[in-house]
Symmetry: D2
Subunit: 367 residues, 4 copies
C-alpha cells in the first residue's frame, strides 16, 4: 500500500530510486507567503551528498535540486511544492552482480518477498538516496520553523566507541570536520577509527543527536499522536536506524524517580522553567517549552568488502565480496537527514496544535 | 486535533479519563467471522490491572470489559467493536491538592499550556488508565494474529540495574512472578530493589522486551510506513517510554558491519533463513520472517512520596509531597501494554501488506 | 477496513447496531473550553428520533444521550468526547423472518457478500439508527460553529412531487410541522401524499436542503480536499441519499456561462460580495463568504408492505411482504442528519484552513 | 493544509500549476508486477488535451507524459510512480490583465482570501490543467482494474438541453465525435448548440455519465467510507462539477418505494441478480455486483468573452471582457477526468475490501 507519505498538515510524498531518473518529493501543506528558492534547499542537500570526504562514496553526484511548482515570484503560494533531483551517475553495470544474490543487512531479500522482484540497481527504492527527498522537504520545514523562532540542529554524537565530550561541545566545530562532530578531538579519533575499519574491509556505526530549541509548550496530541511518538516514527523510518531516544532515553530504565523528574521553577522573569531536562522537552506527549532532545542509533554500513555468507537466486549457499563504492560509515551524511525528519515532524505537529483551544480559534477567526 | 486514533485498516479510537465514567475503545476494521467474547479480552486487562501485587497500587478496581457492538452470535460482524470499562473507584477528593500545582514528570503543566485547564483528577486523560483501551484492543489483535500463526509475547527484561539472564530464560516463569520476568532469580532481586526504593520513597524504571514470532516476510511499507517505524510510534506513544529499540538497538552504534550483518542461508528444508537476528526481524522496513524483537525503556514512576520542588498556580515556588496511591514501578503492568501495541501495529501492517503484488490480488479476486 | 471515522481535525468515530446494546460516537479533536452538556445534544437527537409523528415509526425509543468522557466541570477538555445512546426497545423477534431473505433496496445482500453473514436484526449496522452517532456529533459541531458566527440550517425542500414555494419560505414554520418544511401549505399537501402512499402500502422520497450562513471565505483545500468534495462525501455517506448538489446543482448543466457566473461587486460597506449565488458559496473548492447551499436527494423507504420479489437463503425466488414498523418516508427525520454532517464537515475544514498562510500562523504563535 | 492527495491504499498526490514548469502526480500503492509504460497512459491524456476539436482551446500543448520512477524492466515495482507532463506553451503575458481583477465563476477571489495572493497565470493551481494529474493516475488504475475484469467507461450524456437518446446508445460512437457522445445525432445537435453559444460569446454546461462494469459485490466500507460516498468526493472534487448522482440520482426523490427497489432474482446460472438497477450498483455503501452508474453535472465554462461585472484590486466595480483562449464547453475534455476519478476510487476501495473477512485473510496468508 501507499507508504511514501509522511505528515498530516505539512505532508511530504517521496518518490524515486537510486538508479532511476531521479529522486523527488512533493511537499504539500506549505503555508503561502514563505520566501523560497532553490538556494534555501541546496545547502541542506550538500550536507547529505556523497563525495564530501574520504569517508563517503567517491561518486561525483551533484544532487542539484529544482523547484517544479508551488512558488510564484519567489514566494510559496500554498499549493504543493514539487522538488526534483536528477540522478546523474548511473553506472548500473556495477550492480549487475548483486542482482543474483541477497546482500546481508540490506533489503534485497525482503523486497523480493514482498514484491516478487526488485530494482536491484544500487538498492533501488531502499537506497540511501531516498533520503534526498527527506532533506529537501526538511529544508523547507526548517526555514518555516526558524521564522517562528524554532531551530533544529543535529550532529554526530558518537562513531563506534568514540563519543564526543560534552564539555568540549563546540557548535561551530560541527561544520569544521567531515564527521559533523561538535568536538574536534573526538572527530580526529573517530576519523582514525573509520580509517582503520575501512582498512579491515569493515564498517562502523554511530549516534546522531538532534536538538530542537525555541519550542513553545503545547505541541503534541495525546494519546497516539504524541510529539515523541511521531518523532520516533520519523526517525526510525530512516534506513539503518535501530534505536530512538528522547531526553535521557535508555538511561531512564536505571534511574530513580527522584533523579529523573524535572523540578519546575518560576524563574527571575516570572516564567515557569524546568531545572533539568531529563524529559527531553516533552511531558505526556506534549512539548514543555524546553529543548526537544532526541538521538538516533545507526547501524554500520551493511555493504562491506569483507567476505560474507548468503544465498543466491538459485537457492545456493554462497560466499560474496560486495564490490562497488560504499561509505564505511553512514552517520555523517545522516546528520542532516535526522535534522530534516525532526523538523518536518515538529512543524506538522505545531500546525496541528493550533486547533487545541476554542479561545485561540475564536481569536484567529475574529472578524 | 484528533490524536486518539491509531492504525489504518485495523484502527483503534480510544477515549476516557482516570476519574471520568470509564475508559473505552472503538476497534474498527476487525474482519468478520472472528470468534469473540469478553472472555477473550478480560485476561489481558487482568494482567494490566492494579492491585495485582504489593508493587502496584492497592486500588480495588475491577476493570471489567463489556462489548457494546460489533459481534453477533459470538462472532465479529466486520463492524466496529465498542469496548467499555467503567471506572469504579473514583475518590476524586484524593486529588484535590494536585489541582493547585504541577507535578514534576507529569503532564499537568503541558495540558494546561495546551488546553488552558485540565481534568486534574488522577491525571485525567494523561493517566495510565488510558492504556486499558490499548490492552482491550490489543487482545483482539493478538487473537487474530494467533489464528494466522503469529504470536506476540512481552516480558520484563530489566528493572533498575537488575536484568534477566538470557541463559535462565524461562517463558513459563513470566506468569509465575509478579514482575512478569522470565527469570525467577532476577525477579527476586528486582523485587528487593523495588522494596528498597519504595522504602526510600522513591521509584524505579525498567525495560520491557517483546517478541513477535511466526511473522511472514513482506510486511511493512517503504519508506515512511516501515514496520519498525510504526512499531516505534506505537511503543513511544505509551506514557513513560523514553527509548525504543529494534533488534540489537543501541548496540549497533558500536558494532562493525561484519558483526551486525545477518548472513542468509538455505536451511535443510530448502528455506531461506538468517543465521543471526541482529536486525530484529526487519530489513528495509519490511519483515524478513525472523522474530521481530523490540524493547521499550520506561522511566521510573513520576509520582513519588519524596519531597520535590515545583510551582503552584499562584506562580510560587513550592515544595510538595505527593500523596495518594501509586506504584513504585510502572514496568510490570506495562508489559501487556507493550504486547498490545506491538500486536495492533503488526496486524494493521499485515493487512496492509495484502495489496503489494498484483498476482496475489488477482488470485484473491479470482471469480 | 476501518470505515467508521470521518474528519481530520474534528474527527468522529461511530459504532453500534440497530439491535445491539446501543449506538455511540467518539468525537475527537473538540477544542478545549467549549461549554457542553447533554442538554446541548439531546434536542438534536429529539429531531431525529422515531415516534414524533404519524409518519415515523411508532417505536417508543427515547434515544437519551449520555456524555462518557471529554468534559470537566461543564467544559470540553480537548480530549475525546464519548457519547452513548442505549437501545431500549429490542424486539428482535420482529426480525426473525428477514434473516432468511434479502430485502430489496436494503444492504442485506451486500453485507452477506462482504462479511459472509450479517446481524439481521433491524438492519444491524446498516440501520438508520447509526445516524444517531452523526447527529450527536453534529450537535457539538453546530454549537462550536455558532460560537464562531456560523449557522447551519436544514429543512425539507420537497417530498415526492410536492415542493416548497420559495416565496412562502418561513424559517419558523420548519419546526411547526412534522415534516420540517418551511412552507405550511406544502407541508399539508405533502402530508396528504404520504398518507396516500402509506395507504397504498408504498413509500415516498424527497429532498433536504441545507444552508450554512456566516462562512468566512478561505475554507477548503484544493484540489482533492475541496469544501464541496468533502460535503459531497459527508452527505452521500448518509444512507438513502442518491444525489448531491451544491449551489445550482444539476441545473448548471443547462445553464449558460453568462447566467451561471456570479458577478462580484463592492458593496456599500466596502466589502466584496457576489450579486448572485449560483456557486453555492464555493469557488474552486474554497468558501467565498456567501451562504453554502447544498441539497440531498433521498430515496423512498425501501421497507414497504407491498409484495416484492426476492431471493431467500435457500436460493429460491420468493415473494415477500415485509412486516414490522417502518416510516413511509425517510426525509423528515433525515433533515437533522444532513444538518449534522454538513456542520461536521464545515467545522473540520474550517479548522484545517487555519494553517494556510504564514502571516496568520506567525501571528497565532507570537510570543 | 495538505489537500493534494487522494486515496488510501492506491494514493495519488498531485502537483503543478497551469503556467509553472509542469503538472505531475505521484501514484503510490501501485501493486508490483503490472506491465506499465508511457504508452499505457498517453492515450488517456490525449483524450483530455486541448486542441482536439474546434470546441476546445487552440493551444498546441502536447501533454506528453514521462514516467520518472516506480517501474523496472517494464513492470511496476511496488514503489511510487512519479509522472510528469511539462508545460510547453506558457504565454504568461496573456494573463497579465487578469492579475488585476477577480474573474466571476473562477477561484481568483477565494485563492486571494485563503492565501493572501495567487499565481494568476492561467488560473495557477485552480486551472483545469491540474486534471492532467488525475488522468495520468487514472490510466494506471484503469489498467489494473481491467486486469481484474472491471471496466470503467464515461461519455457525454448531455450538453445544455441536448441529451443522448438511450435507444440510440452506441458505445463505439463515443470516440467518433468530438464531444464523446454515444449518439451521433445528439452529438450533431450539441455541436450546433455550442457553435451558437460561442457565437454569442457565451458558454454551456453538460452531464458526464460513467459506468463501472464487472464489479464484484462487497466493495465499500460502511458507514463513512461507502463506495458511493468516496465516488461523490472524487467526482465533486473535479472543478466545475456542481452535482453528483448515483443510480437513479435526483429522480429517486419523486419515486415510490415499489418503483425504486430492485428485486432480487436467482438467474438461470444460479446466480443472484437484480432485475433492475435503480441503486446504481451500490446498496448500503457496498457494491452489489451490478454496474456502478454515476453522473457528474458540469457548469458552463466560467471564462466567457461576454461583458461581466466584477471588482478589481483597487476595490473598484468594473466591467470586464476576458480575453485569451478558452473552451465554450468543459464537458468533452472532462469525460476522461470523470472516468479517471471513478477508476481511482473503485480500485482503492477494492483493495481496501480485501481485509473484510477473516476466512479470506487466512486463505491469503496460508503457508
Amino acid at each position: 500500500m501507499a507508504g511514501s507519505s509522511f505528515g498530516n498538515i505539512f505532508k511530504i510524498t517521496s518518490w524515486g530510486e537510486s538508479h532511476g531518473k531521479g529522486i523527488g518529493v512533493v511537499v504539500d501543506g506549505v503555508p503561502s507567503g514563505v520566501d523560497l528558492s532553490e538556494q534555501d534547499i541546496q545547502p541542506f542537500l550538500n550536507r547529505r551528498k556523497p563525495g564530501q570526504s574520504r569517508f563517503s562514496t567517491p561518486r561525483a553526484e551533484d544532487d542539484v535540486v529544482e523547484i517544479l511548482s508551488g512558488t510564484f515570484e519567489g514566494k510559496t503560494t500554498g499549493t504543493p511544492i514539487s522538488l526534483i533531483v536528477y540522478n546523474k551517475t548511473q553506472r548500473s553495470s556495477d550492480y549487475s552482480e548483486i542482482a543474483s544474490y541477497y546482500r546481508p543487512g540490506h533489503a534485497d531479500y525482503t523486497f523480493d518477498m514482498k514484491y516478487g522482484f526488485r530494482d536491484y540497481r544500487g538498492g533501488g527504492r531502499s537506497s540511501g538516496r531516498e533520503t534526498i527527498a527527506r532533506v529537501a522537504a526538511g529544508a523547507i520545514a526548517i526555514k518555516i520553523l526558524e521564522s517562528l523562532g524554532i531551530t533544529v540542529h543535529a550532529y554526530t554524537k558518537s562513531i563506534g566507541d568514540v563519543e564526543i565530550n560534552m564539555n568540549n561541545f563546540d557548535s561551530e566545530e560541527i561544520f569544521n570536520n567531515m564527521l559533523y562532530m561538535p568536538d574536534a578531538d573526538a572527530a580526529k579519533r573517530a576519523e582514525k577509527l573509520i580509517d582503520d575499519k575501512r582498512a579491515q574491509t569493515d564498517s562502523v556505526g554511530g549516534v546522531v543527536e538532534c536538538v530542537v530549541s525555541g519550542m513553545m509548550p503545547g505541541v503534541g496530541e495525546p494519546v497516539f499522536e504524541k510529539l515523541n511518538a511521531n518523532l520516533a516514527k520519523a526517525i526510525v523510518s530512516i534506513g539503518a536506524v535501530k534505536a530512538f531516544e528522547i531526553g535521557d532515553g535508555t538511561k531512564v530504565a536505571k534511574a530513580f524517580g527522584s533523579e529523573n523528574n524535572d523540578a519546575f521553577r518560576v524563574d527571575e522573569n516570572g516564567k515557569i522553567v524546568k531545572e533539568t531536562n531529563h524529559s527531553g522537552g516533552i511531558l505526556g506527549g506534549i512539548s514543555d517549552g524546553s529543548d526537544v532532545l532526541l538521538r538516533a542509533y545507526f547501524k554500520p554500513t551493511p555493504s562491506i568488502y569483507k567476505s560474507q555468507n548468503t544465498v543466491n537466486k538459485d537457492m545456493e549457499n554462497i560466499e560474496i565480496n560486495i564490490k562497488g563504492r560504499h561509505d564505511p560509515i553512514i552517520v555523517p551524511r545522516a546528520v542532516v537527514v535526522v535534522e530534516s525528519m525532526a523538523a518536518i515532524t515538529v512543524l506538522d505537529m505545531l500546525l496541528l496544535s493550533m486547533t487545541s483551544n476554542i479561545e485561540k480559534i475564536r481569536k484567529f477567526f475574529q472578524r
